[in-house]
């Protein structure tokens, strides 16, 4: 009986925590079905009137989606800016991390542990610390105000290498040795022997990198001045000031790619050994 009560109370606490985490998403989705007028009325604040908490729409409407998809072409263009920035970062970062992690895990070479220690230090460093040198380098390369100024600094992270190194440590050396004896080359060993065993780690890295790049804000503000090149993550805040009426629908559309990627990789993500 006591055990049952403990389990019940655990579930209650977990449900409350889940509700707290889910509420903003639910709030955004519900508000995306409000007509513009209702949004404007609910979120207009003044000295004697505060914006109200308004979860359930008085009137169900697809006006925000109509506006976002059909009447605001600029919004969708910004969506593709996000895609153009995020996809290369995810692919390049995963590829570099896979090669580097494989080398650190399965190869013996001088100063390997020292180098990895430096990687760990880089992992500890906040990204803002490297922002100024990065800016100077990008300026010298003439890449300011281009999407490459966002892609190149994000193409490598120590985090990805560390994450995959931990995953690859679980791959038995015997399987690699056996493959080598069968005549497999390094790349075949990596892509056909090791990677299938670290799918969870790669999926985790992909999801985390995707979310990190998809929500990129600071780098954009520093490296990009042309607002037409802004990704949606930054542009959304601009919309929030001028187009309150469609901001929730924009938020939902912005959330969908990350959600789909997570759902696709959720199994590997849960089973990942890191």
């Amino acid at each position: 009986m006591k055990k049952r009560a403990v389990i019940t109370s655990k579930y209650i606490v977990l449900a409350i925590i889940a509700a707290i985490f889910l509420l903003p998403i639910l709030y955004m989705v519900m508000n995306s079905f409000m007509p513009t007028k209702e949004i404007t009325e609910a979120y207009t604040s003044s000295a004697d009137h505060y914006a109200s908490f308004h979860l359930i729409p008085d009137q169900f409407s697809l006006e925000q989606y109509y506006q976002a998809f059909l009447r605001r072409p600029q919004f969708l263009k910004l969506f593709w800016n996000s895609v153009l920035i995020t996809v290369p970062i995810v692919l390049i970062q995963c590829l570099i991390s896979i090669f580097a992690a494989f080398a650190f895990t399965k190869f013996e070479f001088p100063l390997r542990d020292v180098l990895f220690f430096i990687f760990i230090i880089l992992l500890i460093l906040p990204s803002w610390v490297t922002m100024v040198p990065n800016y100077m380098m990008i300026q010298k390369m003439g890449l300011l105000d281009t999407i490459w100024s966002l892609i190149l600094p994000s193409a490598f992270t120590a985090f990805g290498v560390c994450l995959l190194r931990q995953s690859m440590r679980y791959v038995p050396d015997e399987t690699i040795e056996a493959a080598r004896m069968e005549g497999c080359g390094v790349f075949r060993i990596l892509f056909q022997i090791v990677l299938p065993q670290v799918k969870g780690g790669v999926a985790s890295l992909m999801i985390l990198t995707f979310i990190d790049s998809w929500n990129m804000v600071e780098q954009v503000i520093i490296y990009i001045t042309d607002k037409d090149k802004y990704p949606l993550s930054v542009a959304l805040s601009e919309y929030a000031g001028t187009d309150t009426g469609i901001i929730f629908a924009c938020g939902v559309i912005f959330m969908i790619p990350a959600l789909l990627i997570f759902l696709y990789h959720s199994k590997e993500f849960k089973n990942a050994r890191v």
Binding site: F69, L70, R72, P73, L76, F79, P257, L260, Y264
Partner: protein
Amino acid sequence: MKSSLKPTIIKISIAFILIVALMTYFSGQIDNYLLPHVTKTLGGDGTLKYHLHTDTVVERPPASKAYALPIDFPVGDIAVREGSSVSKGERLLQYDAQEYAATKKTLGENVERLESEQEKLYTEYTTAKDKLSAQSAMDALQETHAALEAAQETYDNFVSRFDSEGWLLAGKDMEIASVSAGIGATVPEGTALFYYAADPSALQIRFTCDPALGELIFTNSKITIRVPLRSDEGEPVYRKGSAVIIEKKSTQNGVECTAEIKDVKLEDGETMPTYGDPVIIETEFESRQYAHIVMKSAIHDESYVYVITKNPDEKRYVYQVPVSIIAENEFYAAVDMTAESLPLVLTSSKALEDGQRVIVDD
């Protein structure tokens, strides 16, 4: 997540990407198609020519007309009575002798004073040491000259109406209908001194002008008209003529004007119109007020216009700007408004809202 759901997620992802891609490609065109297409017009500063009067017809003049002067008239003596027939130049009423002499003297002195002042200013102008002093003297000279001309006209008008003993003289042959002035009384300016029988062959028109324009209309009192000739068949034939405004008075409906028809150019065999025939007033009265002129079709509900602005996003938006109409004619209105330099919406393919984005067709 069951692995069997992966194909579904892939399908959903592809569908999502396709929808967003298609929408991105077409939304610009769809948006352009759905947005109101407007044509623009620009206002301009200037004066407005306008016809602003009620329809009018030929009327019979009243049996008698009032005779009034634009000056106070202290009556010294009266030489006529009801039924008197007077010829041009005969005596009518006497301006009080002492007052006449005093007024004549005052008006004469005023003219002399201004003449003297004009001479003095002319000397100042010719002997000015610098350009600034010369300009100042010239400005004063021009003002004085205008005042002198007005004073001289007043003096001449006063003297020409009276003989040397202050008797008011008849300007034309007339039959006195009644005398309203009494000996010893002072008749105020604009009030009838006596009434005389009107010319029964004279024709007149009456019309009312917009009250808001009462101060703006009639730069001169002679207006151009067109009157129809009497015809039994087909479209009526009109002949040009003129009418002289003989009376203006402000009423609740506006400025009511009475004008006597003169100088209708008839050809052989044609006769003057008769009572009840419509008269077209052709004179375009010009607003004396320099104002912002816009096309009337750009004004909505007679109270606001839509101005077109280019926002920082390089797109065109329309905003309501209130206007107040000072004067208007068939196509244009003189308005008081802010944002005069911005183009206005002339026509729109759809109903507009304040702050709406539009496509401007050039």
